[in-house]
C-alpha cells in the first residue's frame, strides 16, 4: 500500500489510465463517424444525407476526445509527447488535414451551392479516409517502437488499411442502428464485409506485438501472465462469432436490438485496446520511456486531476443527454 502514498507513482498511472480511456472512447466514437465517411462512396446521394444526419449532432464532441487524449499526453507526459509526435510528424500532418477536410465538409456540403455538393461529399470521404489511414499508420509505427525501417513501414501500412476497414465496420454498425429499410440492409452487408478487416487487423497486431520485444513476449506467453491475458482472445473470439451470426439474421423484426452490433463492435474494440494497454504498460514510448520517467511534476498533475474528477462525470452526463436527445432513427437535420 506504500506505493499509493507516493504521488510520483500513482499520479502517472492515473493519468496514463485517463489517457488510455480517452483514446479508447475516441476510437469508438470518432471511429464510427470516420467509418461512416469511409463508407460514403458505397451510398447513394439520398443515403449520404441520412448517414450525415446520423452523425451530425455528435461528431464534434467525438473529436474532442482526441483533443483530450493528446492534451493529456501533452500535459501529463511532456517528454513523451515531443518524442512521439515529432517521429510521427508527417502522418500527424496527414491526419490534421484529413480532419480539417471532413470537419468543414459537414457544413459546406449543406450550405454551398447545390452544384458543389458532390465536390464536398468527395472532400468528406477523402478527409475521413486520410484520417483513418493516418491513424492506423501511427498505430502501426507506435507498436513497432517508432523507428522507421522498411519492415516497420510495411507493417504500418498494413495496420493503416486494417484500422480503416475496422472503422468502416463500426461505422456500418452505427448506420444499422440509426437507419432503416434499404440503407439499413445495405449497412448490414457493409458490416459483414468489414468484420473481416477488423479480425485481420486485431490478428495482425496481436501476432506482431509480442515479437517486438522480449518483454512483451514474456508478458504474453510466460506462465502466470498467460492466464491474465487468456480471457481477451477467448472473449474476442466469442464476440466475433456471435456478431457474425447476428449479422446473418438481421434485420430483426420490428428493428429490435438494432443497437447490438454497435455495442458488440465497441466491446471488441475495448478488448483489443485492453490487450495493447496491458502489453505496453509501463511504457509510453515503447521500450524507451516509461510513464514514470515521462510524467510532469506531481503538483501540476494534481491540479489537473482535481478538475478532471469534478468535470469528467459532468462531461459524461451531458454526453449521454445529447445521445438521448438524438436517439432513435436519424431524421433530417434541421436548424429549427
Amino acid at each position: 500500500m506504500d506505493m499509493f502514498g507516493d504521488p510520483a507513482i500513482w499520479l502517472p498511472f492515473v493519468f496514463a489510465s485517463l489517457m488510455g480511456l480517452s483514446i479508447l472512447i475516441y476510437v469508438i466514437l470518432d471511429g464510427y463517424d470516420l467509418g461512416v465517411g469511409v463508407l460514403f462512396p458505397f451510398a447513394t446521394d439520398d443515403e449520404k444525407d441520412k448517414m450525415i444526419a446520423s452523425i451530425g449532432p455528435f461528431w464534434d464532441a467525438n473529436e474532442t476526445w482526441l483533443v483530450l487524449a493528446v492534451g493529456l499526453l501533452l500535459v501529463a507526459f511532456p517528454a513523451a509527447h515531443g518524442t512521439i509526435l515529432t517521429s510521427l510528424y508527417l502522418p500527424v500532418a496527414v491526419l490534421m488535414i484529413g480532419l480539417i477536410m471532413r470537419g468543414v465538409a459537414f457544413e459546406f456540403r449543406a450550405k454551398a451551392p447545390a452544384a458543389y455538393k458532390r465536390l464536398w461529399n468527395n472532400v468528406f470521404f477523402t478527409g475521413s479516409l486520410m484520417s483513418a489511414l493516418s491513424q492506423g499508420f501511427m498505430l502501426g509505427m507506435y507498436v513497432m517502437g517508432l523507428d522507421y525501417t522498411l519492415g516497420h513501414f510495411a507493417f504500418a501500412v498494413l495496420t493503416a488499411v486494417f484500422l480503416t476497414v475496422g472503422y468502416s465496420f463500426i461505422g456500418a454498425t452505427w448506420v444499422i442502428h440509426k437507419a432503416d429499410e434499404h440503407l439499413q440492409r445495405k449497412a448490414i452487408d457493409w458490416a459483414k464485409g468489414g468484420i473481416w478487416g477488423l479480425m485481420l487487423g486485431i490478428g495482425a497486431i496481436s501476432l506482431a506485438t509480442p515479437f517486438v520485444s522480449a518483454r512483451i513476449f514474456g508478458k504474453w506467453f510466460e506462465f502466470p501472465y498467460l492466464l491474465w491475458l487468456a480471457p481477451l482472445p477467448i472473449l474476442s473470439g466469442l464476440i466475433v462469432i456471435w456478431l457474425w451470426r447476428m449479422l446473418q439474421q438481421m434485420p430483426f423484426e420490428n428493428d429490435r436490438r438494432s443497437w447490438l452490433p454497435f455495442v458488440a463492435a465497441s466491446s471488441l474494440w475495448t478488448l483489443a485496446f485492453g490487450g495493447m494497454a496491458y502489453s505496453f504498460y509501463p511504457y509510453v514510448v515503447p521500450e524507451k520511456l516509461t510513464i514514470y520517467d515521462a510524467a510532469s511534476a506531481p503538483e501540476s498533475l494534481f491540479i489537473i486531476l482535481i478538475g478532471t474528477c469534478v468535470v469528467l462525470p459532468t462531461i459524461i452526463g451531458y454526453t449521454f443527454l445529447a445521445y438521448y436527445i438524438f436517439r432513435g432513427k436519424a431524421t433530417e437535420l434541421r436548424y429549427d
Binding site: D49, D60, A61, G82, T83, L99, E107, R334
Partner: protein, 469 residues
C-alpha cells in the same frame, strides 16, 4: 536548424492566424445568438427568430472551421515545439487541460443541441444550450489567453533544473497582462462580429432582402459596435501601459523609438530601418507618444538601443512588422469608431414626418457599401493586434525564460516545408470557400429561398421559411 526554425515559425503563425479567425467570430456570435433567442422568447416577434436562424448557420460554419483548425494547434506543440512543453509544461499543461475539460466539451456537446435540437427539446433547454455554447467559447478564451499572457508576463513559478514548476496558480492565471488581454480579445471578438453582421446585413439589404430580420440584426450590430469601440480603445491604451512596464522592448518597437527619449512623437508614418537603426520619412505628432504612454508630454520612453547585447546582437524584436501591424490595428480601430458613430448619428435623425427616428432606414445606399467593405475589418485588426503582440515578444517564446529557438523541434526542414505548403493550400481554399458561402447564404436568404441544412426539408418547413422571409 535555422531553416527549420524559420519554417516552423511561419507554419505556427499560419496555423494560429487561420485558427484565430474563427474563434473571433464564434465567441461573440454565440452571445449574440443568445441575445436574439432571448429577445424572441420575450417578445415572440418573428424578426428575432429570423435573425437567429440566419446567423446560427454562419455560426455553425465558423464553429466547424474553428474546431478543426484548433485540433491542428494542439498537435503543433508536439510536432514542432517540443521544447515548449518540456520546459514550461508544468504550467502550460494544466491551463490547456482546463480549457479542454471546462470549455471544449461543453461547447461541442451542446452545439449539437443548439443547432439541431430546436424542435426536439423544450424551449428552455434550447435556450440554455445556446447559452452554454457561448459560455464555453468564453471559457476557451479565458484559459488560452491566461496561458498566452503568462508567456508574455510569466510569474508564480520557479525554475528547477531548467524546468518551470508552479508555485502559485492564482499568480499564474491572473498574471499582470492577463486581464487586459482577456478583455481586449473579448471586445475584439464583439467588434469583429458586429461589423460582420452589419456588413452581411447591408449586403442583403442592397440586393433587396431588407426584411425585419435583417433590420433588427443590423441595428443590434451597429449599436454594439458604437458602444464597444471606445471601450476597446481605452482597454487597448491600458494594455499598452501594461506592456510598457513588462516588455519595454516591444513598446519601443511599436513606437519606433531608437534612442531613449523624452517627449517622443507619435509617429503616424515612418520606415524603420533595422540595419541603420533609424527611421526614414518620419511624420509624427510631437510629444504625443510620451503623453499616451506616460501621461506627461515630456515622459521618457526607453529606446530600442537599450536592448542590444554587448556583442551587438539585438535583444528586441524586428521593428518594422511590430511597428506596422500596430498601426494597422489602431488605424482599423479608429475607422471603426468613425463608421459606427456616424451610422448611429444617421440612424438617430428624425424621420421625414418628424415623429420618430429613422433607424437603419436612415443609412444611405453609399453608406451600405461602406459597411459591406468593413465586413471583415475585425479580422484585420485582430490579426494585426496578435502580430504586434507575438512578434513583439521575440526572441522570447516565454519572456525571459525560453527563447523560440530553444523550443523548436529538430525535424528536417524539407519536412516542415512540405507540411507548411499543404496547410497553406488548404487554408487558402477554405478561407475562399468560407467567405463565398457566407455571401451565397446571404443571397439565398435575400431571395427568400430556404437555406436549410437537411435531408429533403419537409414541405411544411419550406413554406414556413418562404413566408417568414
Amino acid at each position: 536548424m535555422m531553416e527549420t526554425l524559420l519554417l516552423s515559425r511561419i507554419q505556427f503563425a499560419a496555423n494560429i492566424s487561420f485558427h484565430i479567425l474563427f474563434p473571433t467570430i464564434t465567441i461573440a456570435l454565440g452571445w449574440t445568438l443568445l441575445f436574439f433567442r432571448l429577445r424572441y422568447n420575450a417578445t415572440g416577434e418573428q424578426r428575432w427568430m429570423q435573425a437567429y436562424s440566419f446567423w446560427v448557420k454562419i455560426f455553425a460554419l465558423s464553429f466547424a472551421m474553428g474546431v478543426v483548425s484548433g485540433i491542428t494547434m494542439s498537435f503543433q506543440f508536439g510536432t514542432n515545439w517540443p521544447g515548449f512543453m518540456e520546459t514550461v509544461g508544468n504550467i502550460a499543461g494544466p491551463l490547456l487541460a482546463y480549457e479542454v475539460i471546462t470549455a471544449f466539451f461543453l461547447e461541442a456537446v451542446f452545439l449539437g443541441i443548439m443547432l439541431f435540437g430546436f424542435s426536439r427539446v423544450p424551449r428552455w433547454l434550447h435556450t440554455t444550450a445556446t447559452g452554454l455554447v457561448a459560455f464555453g467559447t468564453t471559457m476557451s478564451v479565458f484559459w488560452i489567453v491566461a496561458l498566452n499572457s503568462w508567456m508574455h508576463t510569466p510569474q508564480g513559478f520557479e525554475m528547477i533544473d531548467g524546468v518551470a514548476h508552479a508555485t502559485d496558480w492564482w499568480a499564474i492565471v491572473f498574471n499582470p497582462s492577463m486581464p487586459y488581454r482577456f478583455f481586449h480579445m473579448m471586445l475584439a471578438s464583439f467588434l469583429t462580429v458586429s461589423f460582420l453582421i452589419a456588413g452581411v446585413s447591408a449586403y442583403r439589404w442592397r440586393i433587396g432582402g431588407n426584411t425585419d430580420g435583417v433590420r433588427v440584426a443590423m441595428k443590434t450590430a451597429l449599436i454594439t459596435a458604437a458602444l464597444l469601440i471606445p471601450v476597446q480603445i481605452l482597454v487597448g491604451d491600458m494594455h499598452g501601459l501594461n506592456t510598457k512596464e513588462y516588455q519595454p522592448a516591444k513598446i519601443a518597437a511599436m513606437e519606433g523609438v531608437w534612442d531613449t527619449e523624452r517627449g517622443a512623437p507619435l509617429l503616424l508614418f515612418a520606415w524603420p530601418d533595422q540595419a541603420a537603426r533609424e527611421n526614414h520619412f518620419e511624420i509624427g505628432i510631437p510629444g504625443l507618444a510620451s503623453y499616451i504612454l506616460t501621461h506627461h508630454w515630456d515622459g521618457e520612453i526607453k529606446g530600442l538601443n537599450e536592448f542590444v547585447a554587448d556583442d551587438g546582437t539585438a535583444l528586441h524584436p524586428r521593428v518594422a512588422p511590430v511597428f506596422w501591424s500596430f498601426r494597422i490595428m489602431v488605424g482599423t480601430g479608429i475607422l471603426m469608431l468613425l463608421i459606427s458613430w456616424t451610422s448611429i448619428a444617421m440612424m438617430m435623425r428624425k424621420d421625414r414626418n418628424g415623429d420618430g427616428r429613422r433607424g437603419v432606414e436612415g443609412l444611405p445606399r453609399f453608406w451600405q457599401i461602406g459597411l459591406v467593405a468593413m465586413t471583415f475589418s475585425g479580422w484585420i485588426a485582430t490579426l494585426a493586434g496578435w502580430y504586434t503582440t507575438e512578434i513583439g515578444r521575440q526572441p522570447w517564446l516565454v519572456q525571459g525564460v525560453l527563447t523560440t529557438k530553444q523550443a523548436v523541434a529538430d525535424v528536417p526542414a524539407p519536412m516542415v516545408l512540405s507540411t507548411l505548403i499543404a496547410y497553406l493550400a488548404v487554408y487558402v481554399i477554405l478561407l475562399g470557400a468560407y467567405i463565398t458561402v457566407i455571401f451565397y447564404l446571404a443571397r439565398r436568404a435575400a431571395q427568400g429561398k430556404s437555406i436549410e441544412f437537411g435531408v429533403s426539408p419537409s414541405v411544411r418547413a419550406q413554406s414556413r421559411i418562404v413566408a417568414e422571409e
